[in-house]
């Protein structure tokens, strides 16, 4: 009876996911194996031709760029997020939860809006250039929009709240008396941090990196809004294949390559992180 009830309760959920998540993903896999010609005729025979074409020189450059952007974004998120998480966890005091909410709040607002909000600041006649000109720090307005910098900035801004959270959790759970013990044994605060606090927070740093790297790698909004054709990422290529070139099989192949790249880099990173621990 209980087992029946359990299945009756999960069945709609399972069926929904099978229909609208799993099955669609398999249609992408299936579709990727057929090629399309200039007249949009779909090939009869399944082949891996799309995957060969997906690794063209031009596409490889885009993939390499996506990986570079995602890595830089991850590094920037850690550099900004770690001290912030540390500050809140150790010195937040009674305001801790409020300070944390302030970090997470932007994450729940529209990513599209948060991304284009930067254009007002970054554009040639934008706020940043105006301030710098007024302070006589520059004599000519800087070109900040449509560059590597603006795309990476958009990504970092988008995922920083996400990166800070796991680091905070790993610091918050730490027993502070360990630091006191280190101090009693003669460690300077700096030594205590690098020998005790930081190693113990590594799990948080690792999940923060993954949680930033993976969506950054697959992003297309930041490059679309703050970038130019020279700053395209894989996501932009996929979007183009689907909505501009109407080569859905090719777009599907690129999507699978994207997922493959994500899984490989995650496995690689976990492997490296695991080795460090051992």
């Amino acid at each position: 009876m209980k087992r029946f009830l359990a299945w009756a309760l999960v069945l709609p959920f399972v069926l929904y996911n099978l229909t609208f998540v799993i099955f669609p993903l398999f249609t992408v896999l299936y579709q990727s194996m057929f090629t399309i010609d200039a007249e949009y005729n779909v090939s009869q025979q399944a082949s891996l031709d799309n995957f060969k074409a997906a690794f063209s020189a031009a596409n490889l450059e885009v993939m390499w760029r996506s990986a570079r952007y995602a890595l830089t974004t991850t590094a920037a998120c850690l550099l900004l997020g770690y001290p912030l998480a540390y500050f809140i966890a150790v010195y937040g005091g009674r305001l801790r939860s409020q300070l944390l909410i302030l970090v997470v709040l932007p994450f729940w607002t529209s990513y599209l809006i948060r991304t284009f909000a930067w254009t007002t600041l970054l554009q040639k006649e934008g706020v940043i250039n105006a301030v710098l000109l007024k302070l006589h720090l520059i004599s000519q307005p800087l070109q900040m929009l449509n560059t590597d910098f603006s795309v990476i900035l958009g990504l970092t801004y988008g995922f920083l709240p996400f990166a800070t959270l796991p680091i905070y959790v790993s610091l918050e759970n730490q027993d502070r008396s360990l630091v006191e013990a280190a101090a009693d044994l003669g460690a300077t605060p700096v030594q205590a941090f690098w020998k005790v606090v930081f190693p113990l927070s590594l799990p948080g740093v690792i999940s923060a990196s993954l949680i930033t790297f993976v969506p950054a790698m697959g992003d297309f909004v930041s490059a679309e809004i703050l970038g130019s054709p020279e700053t395209q990422m894989i996501g932009n290529l996929i979007q183009q294949q689907f909505l501009a070139l109407f080569n859905w099989p090719m777009g599907s192949a690129l999507s699978l390559v994207l997922m493959l790249l994500m899984v490989t880099s995650m496995a690689l990173y976990m492997g490296l992180a695991g080795e460090r621990d051992a």
């Binding site: 609208f20 998540v21 607002t109 007002t120 996929i238 997922m259």
Partner: protein, 264 residues
């Protein structure tokens, strides 16, 4: 007791800088929505006229209506499906429980753009014409997992002995659910529903691929307006959206911090 220390000065300044980084773009966006100039570069004085223009922009109002329709229906469906699954996952041991639990996380792992093109391909191959319905179906697909996880977390903190007591006193399972379980998990359900609503209301990427003609939601409308540059109107509608989301989140954080606020 440990005394509270404010922390070293450099760390406080660093944290402050990061907070400034997080909020400056949002503040500037809101400020410029009140700027008395078409151009988004210098401050020309305070006005609310852009908000009045919005009000008279029929297409924009229709997009807002679409967004609300989609978010309400998607929230309802994902809350029902997600709560049922969460109940089963936390109350009854059954074979394949781990697999079902993992299923809840799957849409969070798949990149949004891949979810978008997968659903687009699926709808077209199966012969479902893109419309507002496909947007709702897609939104349920990515938000139902969040509801399941949220409600399940809430349920995990509760013991089942009240239900047992009710059963011992002769309540049918149906009565037990509505009189004992449901009131206790209502805050969890509400919090899952609010998350689903926020996710749906703000979603751009998946909607971008699954929306048919006449199914333009607010984020899609904002995106198409951006093609003509950032104007004060875009800032104004974005400000309204930000305010709306933050209001929902305030409600949500209240539910999360005080589970009793909605109980009974």
């Amino acid at each position: 007791m440990r005394e509270e220390k404010p922390g070293p000065l450099w760390l406080r300044l660093y944290a402050l800088t990061v907070y400034l980084f997080l909020y400056t773009p949002i503040v500037v966006l809101v400020l410029f929505s009140f700027n008395d100039s078409r151009r988004n570069s210098s401050w020309e004085g305070f006005t609310t006229r852009w908000y009045v223009t919005l009000w008279h922009n029929e297409l924009l109002m229709r997009a807002l209506l679409n967004s609300l329709k989609v978010a309400c229906l998607a929230t309802f469906l994902s809350t029902v499906l997600g709560t049922m699954a969460a109940l089963a996952l936390s109350r009854y041991p059954f074979r394949g429980r781990e697999a079902v639990g993992a299923l809840a996380y799957l849409p969070m792992m798949v990149p949004e753009i891949v979810m978008g093109i997968a659903l687009l391909t699926f709808f077209i191959k199966v012969g479902i014409q893109l419309s507002i319905v496909t947007v709702i179906l897609a939104h349920v697909a990515f938000s139902v997992g969040y509801v399941t996880v949220t409600v399940r977390t809430r349920l995990a903190g509760m013991k089942g002995n009240l239900e047992e007591a009710a059963a011992d006193l002769g309540a049918t399972p149906w009565q037990t659910f509505w009189l004992v379980t449901f009131p206790r998990i209502l805050p969890g359900i509400m919090s899952g529903a609010l998350l689903a609503f926020t996710l749906s209301f703000d979603d751009f990427v998946i909607t971008f691929f699954t929306a048919g003609i006449g199914a333009t939601t607010l984020p899609l409308k904002i995106y198409s307006m951006l093609k003509f540059g950032v104007t004060p109107e875009v800032n104004a509608i974005s400000t309204i959206m930000l305010g709306f989301t933050i209001g929902l989140l305030a409600l949500w954080s209240r539910l999360e911090s005080d589970p009793k606020s909605l109980g009974r």
